[in-house]
Structures are given as structure tokens and as C-alpha cells.
Symmetry: C2
Subunit: 348 residues, 2 copies
């Protein structure tokens, strides 16, 4: 039932040459006479022969695969990145293994272990692993980090700090004196970076900053955090990412607080584009470039010209849409009453 591909031996005997000659026809045609190459390739073509990558991997110790591990495939930040990485890898003739760590270091560790044997190198996105573990893994295979800053490794970072700084400045200019940061997963490097940027920029503009903590980034959690956000007395919020921001938008709507006239909201990562209502002011993202750079860096590392300490930083900027405005009348903390009907049937 299952059809098997032609092997190198079949091509060899068909072409009347040794297996090594067939191999060389593909890998080092310059070491063979042009006629031989042509004849071998013709036979190979006729037989539909393609070198078996598994055998190649075993014999060379190098496969044409890379591993890509993300904390949560379903978080909208990652799919475009995954897609771009896969594309770029394909350009180099590589296939990609995808792993979802579910934000759990142990699972991430396991995935890396599983992949290690089968891949030439790895890309870890927003890794939740400790530095020591990352270094350990990097001893086995070339490894590139995205959004995780471990010294003396290959890493490419989105400096959302730049955009966040602009965001705070924007709010300050509009007249906001007290803002709230809705923080994301504490293990996330991006979260630490954004939080720090908010604090610093707020200080520079003489703006007070409160913080509300969302352990995970989902619409629901963002929505639920609206109460706490309003409770801080701030007139604007900057969320760790767009998902939380969008949830917050819904939560504020529930509370009868209108955006942006009464309260301003800024997201991060521009993952939802202008699809929210109102269209969300946010910090741009560079996830496609980041993925492409990471793949390229990894390919370099696989070749000879690999550097060992690269810190590639991509800047971001504020994208102003329609969720920010000058602070309106202050929202009394008790405006945090539910308004309007239920949110509709959730699916079972």
C-alpha cells in the first residue's frame, strides 16, 4: 500500500555508477565530470529520486530542520511570527518543528530535549527557561533567543520600551497625571522591560503610576481587571499587550466608562490592528522581522560565520488610533458597577 521512494542505490545501478558518485552528483558536482553529473541527474529525475533527509542527517550529523518553541501558539502575538519563521526557514531549505510550551518551563525543557536530536538549531521565543538551562541547551545546538536577553548568546529583541516610552509621553501630553500599568506574565522578559519603561517614563513626566497584575494574557482577564484598574484612580491604562487592552476595553464598557472620553487605553504589540472597537492605540510590533532575523542568525550560526554574542534590537513606536484622549471628568471608583446585559452566551 505504501509506496517507497527510490534510493541512491537504485539510481546508482540504473546509471551504472557507484553510490558515492550519485551522492557527489548532488552534493559536489564539481568533483565529477559534467557528463557523469548530467547522466546521474537524468536517471535520478526519471526515478523521482530525492535524497532521504533522514539518512543525510544521520550520516552528516546535521539535519535541515530547526525547532521553534513558543509559550502559546494561540496567543495572537505568535502566529505571525511562527508563519514568518517558517517561511524564512523554507527559503533556506529548512523544515520547522513547532512546540508549544504552554508557558511552562518544564514543558519547554522537554520540548527542547525532544527536538535536539532532530534539529540543526533552535529558536526559543519568549522563553520561560532560566538562564542556566538555556545555556545548557545552547551547548548542544546553536540557539537563538527571541525576546529574552541572555548575555553572550544570540538574541533578537523587540524593544517595546521605546514605544512604551512614547505612549507614556503621549498620555502625559494629553494631560493624564495618573496612569495604570496592567502587567502580564511575570516570567516574561517583555513584561519586565515594559514595566520598567513605564516607570521610568512616568517619572520623567511627573506622572504617577499604579500597577494591576494579570498573571496571564487573555481577553477575559483583561476584562476582569477593569474593576481593579478603575480602582486605582488612574485616568488611563497601558496594558502589557493588546489582548489585555482589548479585554480592558470590554470591561470598561461593562462598567459604563466610555473610551476614550472618560478613560484612555493603550495596548502593546499591535496584534489586533484596527479590529477593536474603538480602534486601539498601541505600540507597534516587529514580529515578522524578528522572526526573519532570528532564522537568518541561526543559519549563520549553522554555517561557519557564526558569531557567538549578538544582541539585535528592533525599536518600536506608538501607533495612535482612537482609544486615547485628554482625561475627561474623573471616573469615580464606584462607577465600577455592572451595566448592560450579559455578555451573551459563551460557548459550552
Amino acid at each position: 500500500m505504501i509506496k517507497r521512494r527510490a534510493t541512491i542505490s537504485q539510481v546508482a545501478s540504473e546509471a551504472g555508477v557507484a553510490r558515492s558518485t550519485v551522492s557527489r552528483a548532488f552534493t559536489r558536482p564539481d568533483r565529477l565530470s559534467p557528463e557523469t553529473v548530467e547522466r546521474v541527474l537524468a536517471v535520478a529525475d526519471r526515478l523521482g529520486y530525492q535524497p532521504n533527509p533522514v539518512a543525510q542527517a544521520l550520516s552528516t550529523g546535521q539535519s535541515k530542520n530547526i525547532g521553534l518553541i513558543v509559550p502559546d501558539v494561540a496567543n495572537p502575538f505568535f502566529p505571525p511570527l511562527i508563519r514568518a519563521a517558517q517561511r524564512k526557514a523554507e527559503d533556506f531549505g529548512y523544515c520547522v518543528f513547532l512546540g508549544d510550551s504552554d508557558e511552562k518551563p518544564e514543558r519547554e525543557d522537554q520540548l527542547v530535549d525532544r527536538f535536539t536530536h532532530q534539529v540543526a538549531g533552535l529558536i526559543l521565543v519568549s522563553s520561560r527557561l532560566a538562564e542556566a538551562q538555556i545555556r545548557e541547551h545552547a551547548r548542544r545546538r546553536p540557539l537563538v533567543l527571541i525576546n529574552q536577553d541572555v548575555p553572550e548568546m544570540l538574541r533578537v529583541l523587540i524593544n517595546s520600551g521605546a514605544g512604551v516610552t512614547q505612549a507614556v509621553a503621549h498620555l502625559a501630553e494629553l494631560g493624564h497625571r495618573h496612569i495604570c500599568y496592567v502587567s502580564g506574565p511575570t516570567t516574561s522578559w517583555a513584561n519586565r522591560q515594559r514595566r520598567a519603561a513605564v516607570k521610568l517614563a512616568a517619572k520623567q513626566h511627573g506622572v504617577t503610576v499604579s500597577a494591576v497584575s494579570a498573571h496571564k494574557s487573555t481577553h477575559e482577564i483583561g476584562r476582569a481587571s477593569a474593576q481593579a484598574v478603575l480602582g486605582t484612580g488612574a485616568s488611563a491604562a497601558l496594558a502589557f499587550d493588546d489582548l489585555l487592552a482589548q479585554g480592558l476595553l470590554a470591561g470598561l464598557r461593562d462598567a459604563g466608562v466610555s473610551v476614550p472620553s472618560e478613560f484612555s487605553v493603550i495596548g502593546c504589540d499591535d496584534v489586533l490592528g484596527a479590529t477593536t472597537y474603538p480602534p486601539l492605540t498601541t505600540v507597534s510590533n516587529r514580529c515578522i522581522e524578528v522572526a526573519e532575523i532570528a532564522v537568518t542568525l541561526l543559519m549563520d550560526a549553522l554555517g561557519s560565520r557564526g558569531s557567538t554574542d549578538v544582541r539585535h534590537v528592533l525599536d518600536t513606536h506608538l501607533v495612535i488610533r482612537e482609544t486615547t484622549a485628554a482625561p475627561g471628568r474623573p471616573v469615580p471608583a464606584k462607577a465600577a458597577r455592572r451595566k448592560g446585559g450579559a455578555a451573551g452566551n459563551e460557548q459550552p
Copy 2:
């Protein structure tokens, strides 16, 4: 610099046994004396030995990998499915190759070719390939289709027709007499299925149906289609998927048409949950189950107890949220004027 894993030979010599004995200690411990097994495993453990999957794949002709190909990783329908598939595969000890075909049959074909040698089996999601090609690929490797109905193959289908039928009934009950179907990619099996279900159900309820065609499913295209949708004179629209529906919502807002009081909108796939504004009435999706079933089916096919003709259908239902209501005053076609400011700065 790069550390290599222990091999079977090292374990063998360290344990004072033949390589075959080490191999058997892992694969068929029942053929060995318990003491030998224990000793070998102890040594293996001490050396950190793990069988090299590449060598295993070469020697057995079976790898513990599967390939998963989707038309567009970034379309929100797929990430949860991808994630679920990866999880489930991991439960069986399998790793997954991910491919993005960009909706292009040629690319999909290429990806399958690339994967074939390295995987035990394949899962094609919403394949854009022609039947003949799919059959050809299936001759090489066990193959499971998701949302593509090719006779005599392993396939698991989401019957969104069921939910769509409910949706049309729902609109009819509310009093709508003329609805519009915003169709998706013509190559999509799901689109054909939904379109047919809309037509049939509309006929049964004596409802007129117009169609507007969106070649691809994105927010922007949905938004742009609002004009055409209003132009049909319908009082409600059913979109191929949530993305188009959400875009349509934005387009209607642009046109000053309020949802649901003036116009009703229903999506499909429940991919956005209650995150839209207003929360979108839609047809439920089963993408997680579908992924798990597909993986399980594939695993069965890899084992001996593989069936060759399975058609697993999962039903769906209507999820009523807040974008449907009884038809209000009819919307004059020329109400299709732009209203309100620009959508804000798009990122560059």
C-alpha cells in the same frame, strides 16, 4: 563547542554487552533477563543516553514525527487547532512539523514533499489540493484530512452546515426576509458547505439570499465588503467566518448602520469569542476536538488497526450573542456613506 550525546555503542561497552542488547533493553525488555535490563538502563541513565531518533527513523523506516499543514497560520481559526494537535501528538511521543501553504496548492504540494521523508504521517487542514494530488500523497504516507471531504480517505469534518442552518432559522424567526452570505475562499470546502447550507435553509424558510464574495478572509476585506452587502438590500448578513464578520461590523459602523438594531450580523467558527463589539453571534467551532481526533486517527493508521475510510463529522450550533435582532427600518442603500473620522494611523 557542541556537545554530543552518548551513543548506543558507548552504553554497550560501558555495560559490557552488545549494542543489540542495549537496543533491546529499550525496545523489547521482555526478551532480556531483568538483571540485564536493569544494568543497561542504569548505565544509560548515568551516561544520559537517549536513543537517537534520526537513527531509529532510518533503521525502522518510521519516525516519531508528523506533519501538519495549514493554509494560513495567522488566521485565528488555526492556532488553537495547531496547538491542540501539537499537544495531542506529544502525548503519543510525536513531534510536529508545521507548514504554512499560504493558501497556495503548489506550496502545499511542496511542503508535503519536503515532509514526506521525515514524517510517519500527515495532517492536512483545509487542504487546497486537488483530490488526485491528495490521493497521490496518501499513497506514500498515512494522511488525515481536516475539513476536506475526499471519499475513501481519513477525514474529520466540522459540519458548520448544522450551525449555519440554525443561524438562518434564527434570522428567519426574527423576521428577516432577505439575507446576504459573505462568502470566503472558493477553494475552501468549508465555504462550499456553508454556502450550500445557507441556500437550502433560506429556501426552507422562504428567505431570499444574495451573495457577496470575499476572495480571502481578513478583517479589511470584510470591512470593505460592507458597501456591497448593504447594496444587496438584505437586512442581515451571514459571513463565511468571524474575521469577515468582524470586518463587516466595522464597515457597517463606518457606514453609520448600527448593529443589531438596523442590521444583523452572524459569523462562523467562533474564533473571536465575545471579543468583538458588539459580541458576535456566530456558529460554534470544534477545532480543538477536530485536531485531537485527527491526531488519534493518524496514530491508529500508523498502528495496525488503521481503517482506510473514515468520515468523522462534528456538529456545530449557533452561539447567540448580541449582533442579531429583529430587522429595524430598512437601510436605504445610499446610507452607505462614510461616517466618522479615519480609522487612525495604520502601522507603516
